[in-house]
Amino acid sequence: MERLRKIGDVVLKMEGISLAFGGVKALADVSFEVRAHEILAIIGPNGAGKSSMLNVINGFYRPQQGSITFHGRTRKQMEPHEAATQGIARTFQNIALFKGMSTLDNIMTGRNTMMKRNLLWQALYYGPALKEEIEHRAACERIIDFLEIEAIRRAPVGKLPYGLQKRVELGRALAAEPTLLLLDEPMAGMNLEEKQDMCRFILDVNDEFGTTIVLIEHDMGVVMDISDRVVVLDYGRKIAEGTPDAVRANQTVIDAYLGVAH
């Protein structure tokens, strides 16, 4: 698939990341780079360390070794709050929505770091705070239109079908207007039609807003279709990296991953 986009400079550089939980080595000396505007897929068998890597990027996990360079600043680990304010948004492998809230409210939380009115104004719920609330709501409505979820705007998300919940979760991440979007298995458990919709949204986000995307995906067809580059993990190690075609042809990858039923 040909798309017109200029892949830019390196925005995120992971170097020598190692992470262990007790005796379990989730990540062992993994290095890779992410370039502006690209879609990078991380693949690998279950337990390979893919989710752990996303958790390191947005600061949920603190690696024992290695460094993270994001937008020119190098640090040993990320802080979740810092990641969010620096433009990193994410979705989760097991949907992590705010179940008691409506679709709109869930998406509104995504704008948390952009809303600046202080506690006092909010306590009064008046003036600037109210105006700000209205502006941000308009932005969320645009995301709702974009994701074609107008019909469930007011519905409590806990009761929505799985595919729609995944879409709302994407909406919440988009509401933050991220420069780097991390998607952990955005299409897991979806039927074919839902997968196609999700692919389309991901590509549109990448095209229209230039958002850099790192995604974890099991469906090889999807990976081949939408990603610019692929990083392959196995038992916490990086075993290959390259274009989808190159990775597909790589014998180590075939042995470790494609040959394995999952």
């Binding site: 979740p80 948004a89 992590a96 705010f98 809230m101 939380t109 719920y125």
Partner: protein
């Protein structure tokens, strides 16, 4: 049955119920944000009331004393977050619960060390003579307290439902990690809910203190919130409000209409029994979702 008398008891019960709602709300806010049952809530009421009374006794202006006491409650919120919650983050909830028990004993000692352990009279300037409304006697003080508590509850309910902070609080209540992923700081939210619980403690302390005198036993108002929480659910703001009203009304009605048959004074234990019976049928509370364990 005398309808007028029934209404009089009912109204009196509902009015005192708003105070239970208020205390319960203090618990609900902290529980929602952190999953912790704050054992120290009752002691916070004592700390607030005693601080206020002592400032007034030292000749301070009424409103200044309120402001300074509120500032002290906010300082307490910061201290609790920094010294108790933050070091224990990601520990099992039972550990946090134990920490609030520790906090209770510390705060009891601290309060009585910097102030004292005598009984203090607290005068809010409201007469406790009843109004006669078409033959019904309604306590003036009850009405005042209900209005104060009701305003407090309504303000907090709007704040936590309509604003960004409120949304952030509900987000934290639903999913810590997801909340952090959108840049909500747990520490920030904890300070806010503890400060809000401190404000609730202050208002409750003033109202109960004015009625019963400011003394150590004021900490037991917190126990009154337990049946309210069981009825209303630990995480529901509307639940705390309705639960408080139900407990308030039913304990007074029970005292008057059932009390005489069993020798009276059932007001003190009736709410707990009601809560226990309720637990058998709706353990998730009035507004909670039915919990079905996934197996």
């Amino acid at each position: 049955m005398d309808v007028l008398f029934f209404l009089e008891v009912l109204i009196g019960g509902l009015l005192s119920g708003t105070m239970y709602s208020l205390v319960a709300l203090g618990f609900v806010l902290i529980f929602k944000a952190s999953g912790v049952f704050n054992f120290a809530q009752g002691t916070m009421v004592l700390f607030a009331a005693l601080t206020f009374v002592r400032l007034v006794e030292m000749g301070w202006n009424f409103w200044l004393s309120i402001a300074v006491t509120f500032a002290a409650m906010i300082a307490l919120a910061f201290a609790v977050e920094r010294l108790v919650l933050r070091p224990l983050v990601n520990q099992p909830l039972i550990i946090l619960f134990m920490a609030t028990i520790g906090l209770t004993f510390f705060l009891e000692g601290f309060t009585q060390t910097i102030w004292d352990s005598n009984v203090h009279r607290l005068d809010l300037g409201i007469k406790d003579t009843p109004w006669d409304i078409r033959g019904m006697l309604v306590s003036q003080f009850d009405v005042f307290a209900a209005v104060a508590a009701g305003t407090m509850v309504a303000t907090l309910a709007v704040f936590f439902n309509k604003t960004r902070i409120g949304r952030a609080l509900r987000a934290v209540a639903d999913d810590h990690q997801a909340a952090q992923s959108v840049g909500i700081s747990l520490q920030h939210i904890w300070v806010i809910v503890w400060a809000a619980a401190g404000l609730v403690a202050l208002v409750a302390g003033l109202l109960w203190g004015a009625r019963l005198g400011v003394q150590f036993s004021i900490t037991i108002v917190a126990l009154k919130a337990l049946p309210v929480l069981i009825l209303g659910g630990f995480t529901s703001v509307p639940g705390a409000i309705i639960g408080g009203l139900i407990i308030g009304a039913s304990e007074k009605l029970a005292e008057v209409y059932i009390g005489p048959f069993v020798g009276g004074a059932i007001e003190n234990w009736f709410p707990y029994m009601l809560a226990m019976v309720f637990l058998l049928f709706r353990p998730q509370g009035l507004f909670g979702e039915k919990i079905i364990e996934r197996v």
